[in-house]
Symmetry: C2
Subunit: 284 residues, 2 copies
Amino acid sequence: MLLHEIEELRKIRREWKGLKVGLVPTMGALHQGHLSLIKKAKESCDKVVVSVFVNPIQFGPSEDYNQYPRTLDKDYELCTQAGVDIVFAPSPEVMYGKGQRLSNDNLTYVCPPFFYVNKLCGKSRTGHFDGVCTVVLKLFNIVQPDFGFFGQKDAQQAVIIKKMVRDLNVPVEIVECPIVREESGLALSSRNKYLSDEGREDALVLSKILKNIKACYRKGITDIGVLKETAYGFLTDKHDLEYLEIFDKDTLEEKEKADDNSRVFIACRVEGVRLIDNICLGGE
Amino acid sequence: MLLHEIEELRKIRREWKGLKVGLVPTMGALHQGHLSLIKKAKESCDKVVVSVFVNPIQFGPSEDYNQYPRTLDKDYELCTQAGVDIVFAPSPEVMYGKGQRLSNDNLTYVCPPFFYVNKLCGKSRTGHFDGVCTVVLKLFNIVQPDFGFFGQKDAQQAVIIKKMVRDLNVPVEIVECPIVREESGLALSSRNKYLSDEGREDALVLSKILKNIKACYRKGITDIGVLKETAYGFLTDKHDLEYLEIFDKDTLEEKEKADDNSRVFIACRVEGVRLIDNICLGGE
């Protein structure tokens, strides 16, 4: 079922009293990564809601809000095939009110802690995670799921959402699912659509750098500086590296030495497209 | 029943499935104002929870967090007499975690819009309403009430809470209850305990100013400047006026002329004690 209005959803949600409900929040342009979240949700829940909403307040003024791929018909078809019960695709007006200016001058925001935000993607994307937490909390309040499903691809986002849930006592259990990759190693992303064939080749550098760092770590190298330096052999003038960091996977704290709880995070532009990827040095 | 732990409360809450639950959030030191909220909650709900929590993150560093009156035994007795089902009195550690520094560097905050915050009490109490919204949302998430009861005494707070509920789609209905006054006109407040007998006399100036402005408005004066000027005849060197404003009661916007939707807000220190009061120029 495809729903656009909050009240329609709330009405059905009330009828689901006592059932286990899972929410998979997405911005649409669904790919196998999203479908792996949906599959996980189907396995553990009685009812599954997928939200499809390109959230304006998590995009900066110079970012790709307008170009972001919107493929609702296709998304709905994929969801139906996957056994999703409700696809919730509200308009910005439904989510934020008609004629509202979308700023912290006149909207209530959920603001995750500076320590978690002032690094990695949050460093270059001011306000991004405020926008993410705000919309995720709204969706949680609208759908009232028992479980929320998030991909490891956006690892900083997953850490921040889990922190929000703890800090605000949100009665939702967060389930994280592993990154889905093409055979080439490229992490699936809706933004891969922006890449040319050549760009897709150049984009492999992200997963190659991560895989190589993990291999070096497994050989016994734990010095963070040394591990990071191994990346430079992979980079060419096609790559505009934004960050390469090794932090604690749960707290995003810097480490003296890499260990099994470390995660390597990378962001790099290829053909002007901002791509991210990450890998855990231990098992996930 | 007196509970201190979140899990104990959640367990009982689950047993209340299908019942209408009301939450009266308080900082304790209960007086007739709180009891009027509890009475209202009892009338409209099957189960009533009163939270008693002096919330550290809504006090500024120079404010009265440590001196704030704590009278849990008395509060619990009053609640029991009033038929409250659960008094929830968590410690700061239960609410914010052990050893957590309480700052936006490491806690997720709910931040109401600047427009609603940068005036009245919010102007002198930086971060106050962030702290209020954060703890109220936490309590809503813990108790999961159908209704939340708030006093008109803290009128700016009530506007901001209602805005938060709308903006974040919080599934709680906010019920506002009128200010309770002593026969003298003094609005009840836990902070009245700080006043000497003489101070209580001097404190009557707040309600006198408000009553007089309403009388002037009823006589046809709608000029905001003129209405505000009527206050100065009441003030002596015992009064340290912080603000006197006339705003729209729902949006906190400035008005060209006073009307029935206007509210007069006053804050004034007497004997160093910060007192607030307000009145609606129309019916409530």
